[in-house]
Symmetry: D2
Subunit: 496 residues, 4 copies
């Protein structure tokens, strides 16, 4: 069976020998290095999840490609509205309970659609190659990292106009394959993945055609170097009381350098068809951002739960101002999930067989929830109080003399022991007042694309002219006042 347990997967992973640096030193044995421990935990969690009785019914799906069970959220092309909604349900719940659902299916689905369109136009064979990669991925139960965002140099100058564009480019082509160089930033999980999917991050013009390149590669291919950013609170993962989240899981980040890396043609999905480059970020800003809505809905659930727990240990859960703040948080979660579902309900089939959500509703909903990330953190401070900044550490609490003082003085709601109150406050502190906060904010504000990107997408997708036309009718401008002769749902989608 294709689906691997966490243990099986980690065992397989040891075969990958990436060239990784951390804190300025080469990592000799990544799979036994304690600084990668928490990342390995989340790798395993994401596999084991699919074996739990409660989830497996929706977490596992029989693949039409390989006719084997695969993990829905990782290796199943989204082919129906139902697929889309089930993915969103899973994503929200996993984001609430394990922070990150790592929804690789979205990347596979978008490359599926983009390669199909490229082949239609150029008579190329990229789509078949993608299918083979997909089958490999399914059979090996791979989690692929995504190398999308180029290092950009001067943001005001197009890649082709920069003297030394630092992003990905094709430096050589021959009969066997291509050779690429350049830097991709934000390769989350990258140092701990067997394979990477590499794709363009922007629209390109003919002059940029050397930068229009997509492919997959093994992470330990010669010429690839990764700088691994330690997972959050990496220094404290041995303190499970004080750092309950970071000790349970972590996500190592990567900055990935390609120095003359060879990629055989069978792994190439795009090479020079510059006008197809825009499909990658566009479909990403559609199918991946739909998942992001649900991810942030799940994070809102997490905040609601933590805030309510902290209010309860403080004995103030029933105060109306607390209830109002919690209600606001519930609303955030439901609006985000509502828009994700709504984008599913308004979605369309891409001719390649991928079900595409409505990008307008995706991006409107995502803008909404992204803009509330700061409020999440602020609400936690507001409800918990200053103590999450000033309270003694787990090590203090473990000193018996101090523990006695603290058990007495930091007691709160009688329904909880002081240790339980401290555990709740530590949890809140970790989310709102540690390095983890930075990751949480990053996942909210910038992951899957910046808020500004969302604004641009909404502006470009919304049919404002139609509404100006209606305003003109109301005003009696440009025509006698008659009702226009068409009505439709105005579902806008650039995909066809």
């Amino acid at each position: 069976m294709a689906v691997k347990t966490g243990e099986q997967y980690l065992e397989e992973l040891k075969k990958t020998k990436p060239n990784v640096y951390m804190n300025g030193e080469r990592v000799e044995d990544i799979w036994n290095d304690p600084r990668f421990e928490s990342t390995k935990k989340i790798l395993a969690i994401n596999h084991d999840f699919a074996f739990e009785d409660a989830h497996k019914e929706i977490a596992i799906v029989q693949s039409p490609q390989v006719d084997e069970p695969v993990r829905r959220i990782t290796n199943h092309i989204q082919a129906t509205m139902e697929d889309s909604l089930l993915k969103l349900d899973l994503t929200r719940d996993i984001a609430n309970r394990r922070i990150c659902a790592w929804c690789g299916t979205n990347v596979m689905s978008l490359v599926w659609a983009a390669t199909w369109e490229t082949d239609q136009k150029y008579g190329t064979e990229y789509h078949q190659r993608l299918k083979r990669f997909h089958e490999l991925s399914q059979k090996n139960d791979w989690d692929s990292s995504l190398a999308k965002m180029d290092a950009k140099g001067d943001r005001n100058v197009r890649p082709s106009k920069q003297k030394n564009y630092p992003g990905m480019k094709v430096v050589k082509k021959d009969a066997k394959g291509i050779t690429v160089s350049g830097c991709k930033v934000h390769t989350s999980y990258g140092p701990c993945t067997p394979v990477m999917t590499v794709m363009p991050c922007r629209a390109m013009t003919e002059e940029d055609k050397d930068f229009a390149v997509a492919f997959w590669t093994r992470t330990d291919a010669p010429g690839i170097t990764l700088i691994a950013k330690p997972s959050p609170n990496a220094d404290h993962i041995d303190m499970p009381m004080q750092c309950p989240m970071s000790s349970a899981f972590g996500i190592v980040e990567g900055t990935t350098f390609f120095e003359d890396v060879f990629v055989p043609w069978e792994q190439v999905f795009l090479c020079g068809e510059y006008d197809m480059a825009a499909l990658y970020p566009f479909y990403f800003g559609n199918i991946q951002r739909q998942s992001k809505c649900s991810c942030l809905a799940g994070h809102s659930d997490l905040v609601a739960g933590i805030a309510a727990l902290v209010a309860d240990v403080n004995g103030v859960l029933d105060k109306t101002h607390i209830q109002d703040k919690l209600t606001h948080c519930m609303q955030m979660a439901e609006v985000a999930q509502g828009c994700a579902f709504g984008a599913g309900a308004a979605g369309k089939m891409h001719p390649s067989g991928v079900f595409m959500p409505d990008p307008l509703k995706v991006n409107a909903g995502l803008n909404y929830i992204k803009e509330l990330t700061g409020e999440h953190i602020q609400m936690l401070h507001d409800i918990a109080g200053g103590i999450i900044v000033t309270m003694p550490t787990e090590m203090d609490y473990k000193n018996p003399k101090l523990k006695k003082l603290l058990d007495f003085t930091l007691a709160g709601n009688e329904a909880y022991t002081t240790e339980e109150r401290m555990r709740a406050l530590y949890l809140c502190r970790e989310l709102a007042a540690t390095e983890f906060t930075g990751y949480y904010m990053g996942w909210g504000v910038n992951a899957s694309g910046s808020p500004h990107t969302g604004h641009i997408l909404v502006r470009s997708l919304y049919d404002l002219d139609y509404r100006i036309g209606i305003a003109k009718e109301w005003a009696g401008i440009g025509a006698s006042r008659e009702w226009p002769g068409h009505c439709s749902s105005h579902r806008v989608w650039a995909g066809n």
Copy 2:
């Protein structure tokens, strides 16, 4: 065929002879009174709409009950998710183009479900009666007004505890029927409707059982008196340039008094089954509020269109601060519609055959957009400038001497004539700076239930305990740290 044109419908309506007062005087002949002209226009528009080529495909549906075409938005029980989504598409577009879609289907659908449940519990025959009313309504192509909100007296005292509760109550029952008295406020369209649907507006206890009553009645039944509130800008509907909206349509409001009104049993849907009373506002706060999301999405579209048009006639449409405000408005529209669609996608079948949207997403989405009503109006002032308050009137512009001065001095963007600029500004003024503004705000803030109601619903429907449980797991409180054994979509719906 059951579907009537506006003309046919208005002709039929003349048979209804309601007892109506306006501005302190009895209305002798409502169907020829100019003060009701604009309301008759919208009545007709809502019928004619279904005959337009562009809409009829979705606006008309073959009724499974009477096997005749009926208007979807008025007389079709919502039976599938597809029904729900088509209704939302229509509603948004009509709200944009004709302000109000008058979606009577929602009331019929909710009574359908409520009577079914009442019969299940009490062995009554209400559901059959509702079906007969529904068939009558379909065959006559009726628009029914809704008399739901009781005059409430002291809001802090339950109906049964008030000395003189002014809301609806049963004062007599006999073999033939019931006799009711009391006042219903906010009966929009009421004075111009052939029939009214009357229902409870709140949960009731056993002591309140005389107030637990629902039925339909002809509007001109003996004992019914309506005070009609003139439609907005009623004094100016002969000025189509200055009041383009109010001259095109209007909605007369009603305060409806029942003084010993007899209702035969075959028209009664609830009488004394007090524990069923809550179903009415609950299903209203679900199926009707879903439509309200789309209605307000359409109003956001309207505001976006008018704001863009005004910016254009002023020559500033391309300024970034204008574009940012318009984008914000687009986002409002799409989030509201996104949540409406999302509530559809997360909906469930009620055992009576009504498709019920997810009330949590409905109410979260509706809270979101309701709270932005003031911003809509403010944005119009912001973009248009002070001129919508200070500009000369249509009568000034019709004076040739002044017209000459104004054509010169009020010119803006050269792409428009001064008259066109003034028309755009008048339109904006009507929405943002006249009595119409009050109606617009009322439709946004309070129609289909107040924002506070939405907050209460979200709070009660959201599964906060589940999220507190997850927080406890993270914190290691109350159990060893193991992942919980269940996962589901947590779609919450009180209906079963």
Copy 3:
């Protein structure tokens, strides 16, 4: 004595015979025309106010110029911080209690400073002329209207580049004076004022120098035509219960055309010194906008009071969600007034003897409160409920038969009669759901300059470079990490 009662002032005013049109017809006798009744009421109120025991101590001040008592808010040059703060206290209270304080002193003060600077640079005599106008104004206790905003034509093209710029321009100069033509919009009160102060509304270049003109004129000077926009709810000022505000006062708006109007040199304050034109809007955006902060603080107080009253008649004043909304409104008022006071505390003396508030705090505070105008109106709808849109009219209530029904059914909190409840609801309705709403929004959003203007001013006045410098120090960029050698309060003021 210079200060006139309302009656005395109105008597004097009859000597003014302006050329006024309303609704397309020439107004034959403005002082006996009922449509100007409510405007005359506010004119009188603003005079009588100064005679009331409670106010006269601060409302009246002994003028250093004419050594007579004058009205502080109308005819006293702001010469100290104390002057500034007393003006703000008065303004807030009057705005709460009479809507508009008509603070003419600000215009006089800003022209005082601008003419002084012009004379300093050009050796002209404008400042002496302004002083004479000021003395005339004090001795006659005049209220002058302000004609500042030009009709602008194409907003993207400078005045001098437009074929037919419709704003104010000098068309002839001779030994005796200048002749001007052009249109000024938004001349509030204009048709009912004895004199007008005319000034530029924007910065000018040398090519625009014919548009750089400021002067005063009698409103009935030959060649001036005003189109009067009726005061809000002018059709209903005979219904004091339903329209308590509009029946008590009104502000007629004006669009003012100058067709070859002669202005003698002794009335001219600027003529061709184009580089001085910017002083007018800049000082306006300083001294007048400070008053606007307090004006909108007073309006916030008004909204808080009305909202609380409506909540009380509805019996829900003690509900926490109501209290929270009211608290938010209180905060709005205090922040606006706080910034107005703060701008006073951070102000500086202009060398001409005018006390100038800090423009940065003025504009930041005004941006804050302007952006909340929509929330004000929305809160009133939210707290009052739909009834302010649907309730019967005063005429209904005066019909004895209906009154009996209404007294019973519309009762609320027992501490109030039904009539009192209706009066409270009518007041709320007038502010939130009638043409008055449009004026209220206009006064909030656009009066004294648009929100966008405020943003531009804040951006240009704030010393961002200083803060970037500090960031560089923190980051260790561009210098060794040493603390910079200067510290100051960084009060920014462009005035010297």
Copy 4:
């Protein structure tokens, strides 16, 4: 001379031998422990500041009590409006440039007023004792920590009703002094201070009188134990590039336990006069919160500067969406400072000689800015991009091989070197994505009292009844419609 340099002060401080724990272990020699290094740096900075040419003019003031120069922000009783405004200017600038101005003067000033009132009522001698403490403090140039917030136990139960109230209480009194026990949380700087000022944090009833106690004590008095919370990013203060703020300064937090600590009467300021206890938090919520407005204005300046710098190194400073966000940040700063100044301008003299700002404006302004803390951090993520979460560490950059790769790939705006860009991004990261973020949020949200406290204060101080009265006049309720006979500035202050 009383004013000590940082070096002199630290030398003196070595005489203090507090009983301190950190991370579960007793700190043997706090003054040589590297974990306290950054806190000592800020102690010294706050002294040296007063010697810099640029600041000394306002930072130093001649004390009327000891007739020696003292540091204004630490040891000068605020005696005039001018004092108040100068303090605010200094506070904002220091908060921008050194994060914390540690404004001890506020605590001294509020105890000055509270002891004066207590003596007036009870004929006690507390005020003389406070004066002696103040003189000692001035002559020694002490910085005193503040021990105000009690550990609270069950927040729903009054101290006297709790079985084991963990807060401060008097356990014994005799001729020489009092003996106290209990825990104070949030004693910022506490472990590194020579003396502590201890005071009540809430209003008390007669039954609570044992908890009504205020005094000063040496920090190393027998029976006092402090748990020191390490300053933020304490593990990385040796990385000045990556942690430019934490390496430059830090604030150690304290949880302070009093176990039978003896306090001689000459150090006691309150003991049992329970009705005076409320004066402490009330005046704190006035004079200290005014400083907090300026502190947060300075933090807004800091965010504006860092955001602008990051935008500049990224090459996008001139983009309109960036400029809009920066303008919003500028406005936050100016509104906060505006309200602080406004509260000064509306302040009053307390009869004891302390100048008291207007608490209504203080708390309205502080609510405003506190509620925007989350936005600050979110804006930094938004403008900087995901790189502040994923970028390589300083140690990576110091590896020559990686440095070469990074210098090429992470280049941005050509006006900066890659190292400079990285420094700017690290600075932004430290503020927005590390443990420092938690402190920043804590200083914003909870320091000087929670947002909810501010809401309660605004609600209780604002004269809503006056505004309801005006609404009644407008509505014609309860009186004939006449203008009321009083007007005043309605400056509300509970202090006299």
